[in-house]
Symmetry: C2
Subunit: 329 residues, 2 copies
């Protein structure tokens, strides 16, 4: 089968492509082609046992989506998005990429008119939820996003469900938890500290913690996120199991900042945790206070999605995958 990944230059996109290469298949089927598309040219995974194509494409540009699906990919992982902070600071870019880009892709598929009906895995986000919440948040709780990013993801979830209901795609939307530990340089996302207080000390660098230790949030590792996407594709191959509510909150770990730090101490000792500098930032604290903390993701669990078992496991996976097993002394 032929697989298309949009947003393939992003962190999850690269890891998903690498995993498809390692598996050389998806579910029961063999992959014979993989198209990687993004606004910048995606890296090519090494030693792929199948044809690889990369494309630099702005999905919202006229005809771009039609060209992308010209060879009728069987499975589409639609990860492309302007991230939360940028969608908030640049209203037009956020709507253009996150809403119009997704709709253009769905429309190109709908008007293909040759019976084309791909499996379509959409990366949504827990940003579709906005406070106040019950604790935990049930699967049938209303989407009341408090950011443009969350709004755009929620709109695309609705489109995904309607296009699936009408038989244009076999769609599934998965609401990803906040991903920790994100590799790479610290970014300006308000959620960045959840990763940097682990990543930076493990690399021998200082990290700043802008909120109090009792702040809780909903997490999954990058490995786990890739597992969600692959399992979602398998479910899209068997839509009867899914039913009409095709958008699912993914399971995750509800962990406090204090528990993150305790796990870091167990794995890397107090020398590592001493590199975390507490410096309260009321702006960040206020943003984070509007975020969900915990979900009762029973539908996804019943459908076989599996999460990390502990925050220690999340840290160990980061050390294996990103640090070659080595932590700073």
């Amino acid at each position: 089968m032929h697989v298309l990944i949009t947003g393939a230059a992003g962190m999850i996109g690269r890891k998903l492509a690498a995993q498809l290469v390692r598996n050389s298949g998806l579910g029961e089927g063999a992959v014979d082609g993989l198209t990687l598309v993004d606004m910048v040219r995606p890296d090519l995974p090494e030693r792929a046992p199948f044809r690889l194509i990369t494309s630099v494409t702005d999905l919202a540009a006229p005809q771009a989506a039609a060209r992308l699906i010209a060879d009728r990919p069987d499975v589409i992982f639609h990860l492309a998005a302007v991230v939360s902070g940028e969608a908030e600071s640049d209203f037009e870019k956020g709507y253009r990429v996150n809403l119009d880009g997704t709709r253009a892709l769905l429309e190109a598929i709908r008007i293909a008119g040759d019976g084309y009906r791909p499996k379509f895995v959409f990366a949504s986000s827990i940003a579709v939820f906005g406070a106040p919440f019950p604790d935990p948040i049930p699967d049938d709780f209303a989407l009341t996003p408090l950011t443009s990013y969350g709004t755009q993801k929620a709109v695309c979830e609705l489109l995904l469900a309607d296009y699936t209901r009408l038989g244009f795609i076999s769609g599934i939307g998965i609401r990803l938890p906040t991903i920790v530990v994100r590799p790479g340089a610290p970014n300006k996302a308000a959620s960045g500290f959840f990763s940097s207080i682990i990543r930076e000390p493990l690399a021998g660098r200082e990290a700043i913690l802008p909120v109090s230790d009792d702040v809780r949030h909903w997490f999954a590792s990058p490995r786990c996120a890739v597992g969600f996407l692959l399992h979602a594709a398998a479910l899209a191959l068997a839509p009867a199991r899914l039913g009409p509510r095709v958008n699912l909150t993914m399971p995750g770990l509800c962990v406090s900042v204090g528990e993150e730090i305790a796990a870091l101490a167990r794995i890397a000792g107090h020398k590592a945790t001493a590199r975390i500098r507490r410096e309260r930032d009321p702006v960040v604290a206020k943003i984070v206070a509007g975020w969900p903390q915990s979900f009762d993701a029973r539908r996804a669990l019943a459908l076989g999605f599996r999460t990390d078992t502990s925050f220690d496991e999340i840290i160990r996976a980061h050390i294996e995958d990103e640090l070659g097993g080595q932590i700073a002394g």
Copy 2:
């Protein structure tokens, strides 16, 4: 203040315009201009004590929305929509009018760039909900529409909330119950029988009932719907009371078909109810089975929205407003 009504040629739009003329104001303020817009030329209400403008406009056409708001109406009632059945049979028209038309209007307001921030009342629908449901459905239940119409309304609710959060509009979305008794000729909407089994016998004509007497649904009278819109505009003038969740399920009456018929018997006797012919239609019965039956609309009630007190009152209002107080013998 200047008021704009889109969808002004529709049943609710006409009644709203007539009520604004009768009140010659909106909340505390006097109305000094009323623009009525639709795809066909709206009728002019009689004896208006203020300036009336009518416009035949397709909101989704280029620049149409910008022209409509050129004189910066203070309050916009956005009622324009392709109805449920047509949005389902004509996918492109439904998305174009119901989604793109609404977004074009919101965008024209956003890019006005002169501090313009109208009160924006959006007529949503309980079609944003899709079975299975709890009974009653709480205010924070997920929107999982099972029609394109419901999807389009749900998407517009999300846009309304985001544009309000960002200060482009003072928006409020109200999910109208099924309106009974609809005046005029029977239409092909699957919900049409809820009205026709009252309207037709009162006029001395036969009506067909395609479902069983125990089918329950959520109703409001046309009078009540106009009251919701006017109260919503007053709330949009005081957004602090509303908070960030600007989309509200309207209160209504949960009434069974059997209770409708019993009310008709009390008001017009068994001669009227004898004009109802039971003729089961499994297609209609299946559609109706996916519809919501009852809501716990406590937020709207706490915000002062008032519903009909009984189905008898709904029938009496129909006789007064549409039949000049006369029923067929």
